[in-house]
Assembly symmetry: C2
Homo-oligomer: 244 residues x 2
């Protein structure tokens, strides 16, 4: 089949990725890609309908490196592997990764990344109607955090707000002044990401155990969200709730 065509296609995407990481996304022009692959700009249109199409290929190329854990691990570990893996990819391609938030997720690669997340949430006992929404919440956090980090959207953490804080006075920024010196500490992004994941996993566990609060008296199942250790003790298809 059109295998040489596929080769050329991925060669083009590879050049685009290299250009993006070496000189930034704005440097990814059809003309620059073309010279990089040894062609005329017009030749690229034989492989991609438009530049947007080519950028979708770039998104797919990056998404392909996000790990997709199989059902061997427990659901918690699977979610962690996906989340940490995605963040690592962001650090690997810091100038390209922000594209993922800009472009729609209808690509087949995106669906392939989402599937293990759906599986993990189902195994956590999350009701079918809530799975997609919870997955979007989870992915939004992971993607948003990773993109913010590599694109500098978080600034250099809290640093640099100090001048502004002091210039503004307690009238305009009362909470900044209440927080005071805490805002001047450098941020440990690894720790913050892990903390966020921990919080989300707790939410998932609660959604998976029927969302009963501590005062709802239901069947006294062992609470999810406690003492999860490796192994294969995650639930399987058999106890996934029916779609109602």
């Amino acid at each position: 089949m059109g295998n040489v065509r596929q080769e050329r296609r991925s060669e083009i995407v590879e050049v685009a990725l290299r250009l993006s990481e070496e000189h930034g996304l704005p440097a990814v022009s059809m003309r620059a890609i073309a010279t990089g692959v040894g062609l005329t700009p017009m030749a690229l249109y034989g492989y991609f309908r438009s530049k947007d199409d080519l950028l979708d290929g770039l998104v797919g190329r990056v998404l392909a490196e996000v790990p997709r854990p199989g059902p061997a691990l427990g659901w918690r570990e699977r979610l962690l592997v996906c989340a940490r893996g995605a963040r690592e990819v962001a650090h690997r391609y810091p100038r390209t990764f922000p594209l993922l938030l800009t472009r729609p997720v209808v690509l087949p690669e995106a669906v392939r990344v989402v599937d293990p997340l759906y599986g993990a949430l189902l195994d956590a006992g999350v009701p079918g109607e809530q799975v997609a929404g919870l997955e979007r919440m989870f992915s939004t956090f992971v993607l948003g955090f990773a993109v913010s980090e590599v694109s500098g959207r978080f600034g250099e953490g809290n640093l640099g707000t100090r001048q502004r804080r002091e210039r503004a006075g307690p009238r305009e920024l009362p909470a900044h002044h209440r927080l005071g010196e805490v805002l001047d500490l450098p941020v440990d992004w690894d720790a913050e990401f892990e903390k966020g994941l921990e919080r989300l996993l707790e939410t998932v566990g609660r959604a998976g155990s029927g969302e009963r609060g501590p005062f709802t008296d239901g069947p006294d199942e062992p609470a999810v969200g406690e003492g999860e250790r490796g192994g294969t003790r995650g639930r399987t298809d058999s106890d996934a709730s029916p779609p109602a």
Copy 2:
């Protein structure tokens, strides 16, 4: 002082906003803005150092419409007002809003939006060292959700994955097949956003009450995150934990 200058500046930003909403962000060019305001492109450089600088002005202009609730409301209500308000702004300026995720948050307008969130988290009892991180988690969700919604990153919800699901077969997308028809239901974005907020408020409540799990025996305070109904019964400054 340079008041006529400020007038001109905001006139320029206003034209940029109109252009962006009417014809999309790519249509926001220095040349188009200039004709819109009745000047030569070069004249704009007297008011903004560069196009990026002008876009920062645009971000500030949009951020200025995000509500900043005072301390009259309870912390829960304040978080809800900020979150819902931000999402409404996204719906008001759907083609411009995605800029907020692209550009750094060092603008004074961004700090002004963050301050009430810090205040609410402090009033929820969140320890000082955790406030900034939790705020970033909250904002990442709100911004990420709103941007995904208006930029079409969420696709049309789950719809449209059906063809792909059926073409792929249970081998490649097992969880999609486990979920089955649930994925074909249309998504109620309002409800999903509210559900996400609810989950995050629960997390905030837990962080504010010392993060004890159901198996830690501590003082038997009434659990936060339960039975919250409207009204102004949120905590106030008086019971915020000191930064430690």
